[in-house]
C-alpha cells in the first residue's frame, strides 16, 4: 500500500451566512464562490478523506473526535438564528476516527470518540462540510478544539493524525474551520454595511494572508500567540488552528498558497485559503520552538492509579523489564531526581578530577518510566513501531538533566559512545537529532550496533563530560 499523505489544506470561515444568506452581501457571496472553488479543487485532488479541526467545537476532556457514521440533525446558530436552519446528514469515517483516537493515546494525548444520536455538530463543521462536500461523496472526520490545549498538545494531535493517514494510505485534505480576526459587531447590522470590525484587524488579517499566500504556514504558526493577542477575542488559549494545520503539513514553510477570498462576516475576518503541498520554493523558516513528538504535559490531574498503569502499559512495558534501582550514592557520585532510575547498582554519573563519567543514558522518562516515541517491543517481545528521533531527543534531554544536576550543561559534553539496536533502521533519524543537538556542541562520537539493551529502547549514549569547576 502506498503511504498516505495530505493532498491539500484549506482554511474556511465558520459563520452560517455563506450557507444561508450569501446573496445578502457581495462579500458573503464571494466567500461562497470561494467555497465552491475549494470543493472543486478537493474533487480534482482525488481526495478520499476530509479532516476538519473546528474552532467552534470546544472540548474539555482532551480532544473529541466525531465517530457517528451518519450524524443527522438541524443546526441553528446561537447568534444568527434568524438567518434560518441548516439540516445536515454527513458521511463520517468512523474507522479513521477510532484509529486517530488510538494514535493520540500512543503519543500521550487524551482524546475520545463520540457517537451519539443528536450530538450537536458545531456551526463551523456544518458550514465546512455543507459547502466543501455538498454531495457527501468524501468521508469526513471532525475533531474538537480543546479549550486548555496549547502548542505542544495541538501539534502532537496533528502528528498522530498523520500517523494514521500514512498507515492507512489515505489521500487526505486538512481543513481548519476558523475566523482570522474574530471580533464581531456586538449589535445587528444591515448586511450591506458589513466590513472588518477595525482597520487594525484588517491589517493583521492581510498580513496573515500574505504569509499564507506565499505558503508560509509554519511562519503563521510561529506567530500564533502574537496574532491571538492582537486580533482575537480572548476567550480561548491561542490561535491554535494554525498549529494544527502546520503540524498536518510537517511544519513546512514552502507550500503553494492561494487566498481564494477574504471578506468580513459580521465584522469578523473570513477567508478561504488553499495550501497545496507542492513546494513553492519560498524561503526557509525561523524555527524557534521544539518540534514536539510526544505530549507529556500535565493532563493526568485526577492522579488515578489505574490511569498511571494504563500509560505505563501502553508506552513503557517496564513490568516485564529489569528491576529499577535507586542510584548509588558513593563518593563523587552525581544523581538526579530528574533522570530515570538505573537498572542496576550504579550512579547516574561520577566525577573524577576534571571529568564527569555518565552511566549509559537511555530515553526513559523520570517518574513514569515512559519511553518517548514508544518501546521497540511489547512485553511478549513482539516488535513495535517506534520513533527513533523522539527516543534520541529524550536521551539528550536526560543527559542534559544529569549534567545540570552536576552544575554544568550540555555544552560540557566531550565524548559520546552511542549504541543502536538497529543501525540500518535508525542511524539516519538518530543522526538527524544528533546534528540538531549534540552535534552543535561538538563532542567526539562513536556509534556502535548492538543486539539489545536492558529495557525496550533503541538508543543509549555513554558520555564523558567536563566537570564544572568548584570553588
Amino acid at each position: 500500500m502506498t503511504e498516505g499523505s495530505i493532498v491539500g489544506s484549506f482554511i474556511v470561515p465558520v459563520h452560517p451566512h455563506t450557507v444561508l444568506a450569501p446573496e445578502q452581501n457581495e462579500g458573503w457571496q464571494r466567500l461562497r464562490d470561494a467555497f465552491d472553488e475549494a470543493a472543486q479543487r478537493i474533487k480534482d485532488a482525488d481526495a478520499d478523506l476530509l479532516i476538519i479541526y473546528s474552532t467552534t467545537w470546544p472540548s474539555i476532556i482532551g480532544h473529541q473526535i466525531q465517530a457517528d457514521p451518519n450524524p443527522e440533525w438541524v443546526m441553528v446558530d446561537n447568534d444568527f438564528h434568524d438567518l434560518g436552519s441548516i439540516p445536515y446528514s454527513f458521511n463520517i469515517d468512523a474507522d479513521f476516527a477510532h484509529a486517530w483516537n488510538v494514535a493520540n493515546e500512543k503519543r500521550g494525548l487524551k482524546s475520545r470518540t463520540v457517537n451519539y444520536t443528536g450530538f450537536p455538530i458545531d456551526v463551523g463543521s456544518v458550514v465546512a462540510l455543507k459547502l466543501l462536500n455538498p454531495d457527501n461523496a468524501i468521508p469526513a472526520v471532525i475533531v474538537s478544539s480543546n479549550v486548555y490545549a496549547n502548542r505542544s498538545e495541538t501539534t502532537v494531535l496533528a502528528k498522530s493524525c498523520l500517523d494514521v493517514i500514512k498507515a492507512t494510505g489515505r489521500k487526505a485534505v486538512a481543513i481548519t474551520a476558523m475566523s482570522l480576526s474574530n471580533r464581531m459587531f456586538t449589535a445587528p447590522i444591515d448586511p450591506k454595511d458589513d466590513r472588518i470590525h477595525s482597520l487594525k484587524d484588517d491589517e493583521w488579517n492581510r498580513k496573515i494572508l500574505e504569509f499564507l499566500g506565499e505558503g508560509r504556514l509554519e511562519d503563521v504558526g510561529q506567530l500564533s500567540r502574537t496574532i491571538h493577542q492582537q486580533i482575537r477575542v480572548q476567550k480561548v488559549v491561542a490561535f491554535k488552528p494554525m498549529w494544527w494545520l502546520s503540524g498536518m503539513n510537517d511544519n513546512r514553510n514552502n507550500l503553494s498558497g492561494e487566498v481564494l477570498a477574504y471578506e468580513a462576516i459580521h465584522g469578523a475576518g473570513g477567508a478561504v485559503v488553499h495550501l497545496d503541498p507542492t513546494p513553492s520554493g519560498a524561503g526557509d523558516k525561523e524555527y524557534d520552538e521544539d518540534d514536539v513528538e510526544f505530549f507529556s504535559g500535565e493532563r493526568n490531574v485526577l492522579d488515578a492509579e489505574e490511569e498511571h498503569e494504563l500509560i505505563e502499559d501502553s508506552v513503557a512495558p517496564t513490568s516485564s523489564g529489569p528491576e529499577l534501582w535507586e542510584p548509588t550514592t558513593g563518593e563523587h557520585s552525581v544523581n538526579s531526581e530528574a533522570a530515570p532510575k538505573p537498572v542496576g547498582m550504579y550512579p547516574h554519573a561520577r566525577k573524577v578530577g576534571d571529568l564527569l563519567y555518565l552511566s549509559g543514558v537511555g530515553p526513559r522518562q523520570p517518574g513514569t518510566n515512559a519511553i518517548p516515541g514508544g518501546p521497540i517491543c511489547d512485553e511478549n517481545g513482539q516488535a513495535l513501531d517506534y520513533d527513533i528521533k523522539a527516543q534520541t531527543k529524550a536521551v539528550v534531554d536526560n543527559i542534559t538533566r544529569i549534567l545540570e544536576e552536576a552544575g554544568g550543561s550540555i555544552e560540557d559534553v566531550l565524548d559520546v559512545t552511542s549504541f543502536l539496536v538497529d543501525m540500518d533502521r535508525d542511524f539516519s533519524g538518530y543522526n538527524e537529532v544528533w546534528a540538531e543537538t549534540l552535534g552543535k556542541v561538538g563532542p567526539t562520537r562513536t556509534t556502535l550496533a548492538i543486539r539489545a539493551l536492558p529495557t525496550p529502547i533503541a538508543v543509549e549514549m555513554k558520555v564523558i563530560a567536563r566537570a564544572p569547576t568548584t570553588e
Binding site: S59, F119, A187, K235, L302
Partner: protein, 300 residues
C-alpha cells in the same frame, strides 16, 4: 394590577453531571449516583420553595453564549433532545419546556429601551442549551412553571469584566422592573458555577467520588470567600471583587449571570441561604438562595 414580585433569587449551577446522577427518565445515560452534596443541596432549595407560590422562572444560562447582544427564547414551547457537546456520555436529555413569552417580551422591550442590544430567538429548530435544561430540571423537575430564558452575552470576552458588569447590572434592573410591572411572582436564577477550572481527564466511572475534589487550593479560597459574602449579605462586595474573582478563579461569573442576579435582587444586604457546595470535575459549585420574599422591608 397587583405589583409583581421576585420571591427568591437563586444561584443554581448547571453541570450536567447532576442530572446524570439523578437518573431522571428524560436522560438517556444511567449513573450510580454521585455528587450527592450538591444534589442534596438542590433538594433543600426545592424544599425551601415548596410552599412559595410563583408564576414563572427567569433564568440566565452561561451556556447559551451570544456575541451579538442578549437573546431571549421567544416561542411558547421548545421540545427536543439536548446532547451536551462536552459531556455527551452523561447528558442526552429529552426536554419539553414552556416559555412565558409575555414576560419575556416585557423584559426584552425594557432592555431595548434602556439601550441594550437584544434579540428574540424565534426559530423553532433552535436547541435549548444544556445549562438551561440542567438547572431547569434540578430546580423544578416537574417542569410545571414557564420559563424566561436569557442568553449569556459574552461582553466580558469582547471588553472586560467591568463592561460586562455594567451591562448585566442594567439588564438586572430592567428585569426587575419588568417583573414588578408584570404583576407576576417570579424566581430569578443565575445558572453558573463559581471557580471554573476543570480537570481535563475523566475517571473511568465519571461518578466515582473518590476522584472528585477542587482543582486547587486557590480555587477553594476564592469559592469560600464568595460564599462568605453570600451568607453575610455582602452582595456589593461581590460586585466590587468580580473582576479579580473572575480572572483569578477563571470563574463562570464571566458569563454575567451572577452580576445580573444580584442586580435583579437590588444588590441584597440580607444573608443568603447556602443550600449546598461541592465540586464537579474540579469546578466549585454553590447552591444559594436569596429569600427576597422574607425581606420586603429592605426594599421599602
Amino acid at each position: 394590577m397587583t405589583q409583581g414580585e421576585i420571591v427568591a433569587g437563586c444561584l443554581a449551577p448547571h453541570p450536567p453531571h447532576l442530572v446524570y446522577a439523578e437518573n431522571p427518565p428524560q436522560n438517556e445515560p444511567v449513573a450510580e449516583g454521585g455528587w450527592e452534596q450538591l444534589r442534596w443541596g438542590y433538594e433543600r432549595l426545592r424544599d425551601s420553595l415548596k410552599d412559595v407560590e410563583y408564576d414563572a422562572i427567569v433564568l440566565l444560562s452561561p451556556h447559551w453564549q451570544t456575541y451579538v447582544g442578549t437573546h431571549f427564547l421567544g416561542l411558547p414551547n421548545f421540545k427536543s433532545l439536548s446532547v451536551d457537546p462536552v459531556f455527551p456520555n452523561l447528558f442526552r436529555y429529552h426536554y419539553d419546556l414552556n416559555i412565558d413569552v409575555d414576560l419575556t417580551s416585557k423584559i426584552h422591550d425594557k432592555a431595548a429601551k434602556a439601550g441594550l442590544t437584544v434579540k428574540m430567538m424565534e426559530n423553532p429548530d433552535f436547541r435549548v442549551d444544556y445549562g438551561t435544561i440542567t438547572t431547569g430540571h434540578m430546580f423544578n423537575p416537574a417542569w410545571d412553571k414557564p420559563l424566561v430564558v436569557i442568553s449569556s452575552n459574552r461582553s466580558r470576552d469582547y471588553y472586560s469584566v467591568e463592561v460586562m458588569q455594567e451591562m448585566m447590572i442594567e439588564l438586572g434592573k430592567v428585569t426587575r422592573e419588568a417583573i414588578l410591572e408584570s404583576g407576576k411572582k417570579v424566581v430569578v436564577i443565575a445558572s453558573n458555577s463559581l471557580s471554573h477550572r476543570h480537570f481535563t481527564t475523566e475517571s473511568a466511572i465519571p461518578e466515582d467520588m473518590s476522584k472528585e475534589h477542587i482543582t486547587s487550593h486557590a480555587m477553594h479560597l476564592w469559592d469560600m470567600r464568595m460564599i462568605n459574602y453570600f451568607r453575610t449579605g455582602q452582595a456589593q462586595r461581590i460586585l466590587d471583587e468580580m473582576p479579580e474573582f473572575t480572572e483569578q478563579a477563571i470563574a463562570e461569573s464571566d458569563g454575567g449571570g451572577l452580576s445580573w442576579l444580584l442586580s435583579t435582587l437590588d444588590t441584597p444586604s440580607y444573608p443568603a441561604t447556602l443550600h449546598g457546595y461541592g465540586t464537579i470535575i474540579g469546578t466549585g459549585n454553590a447552591i444559594v438562595e436569596w429569600p427576597e420574599r422574607d425581606h420586603k422591608e429592605a426594599k421599602q
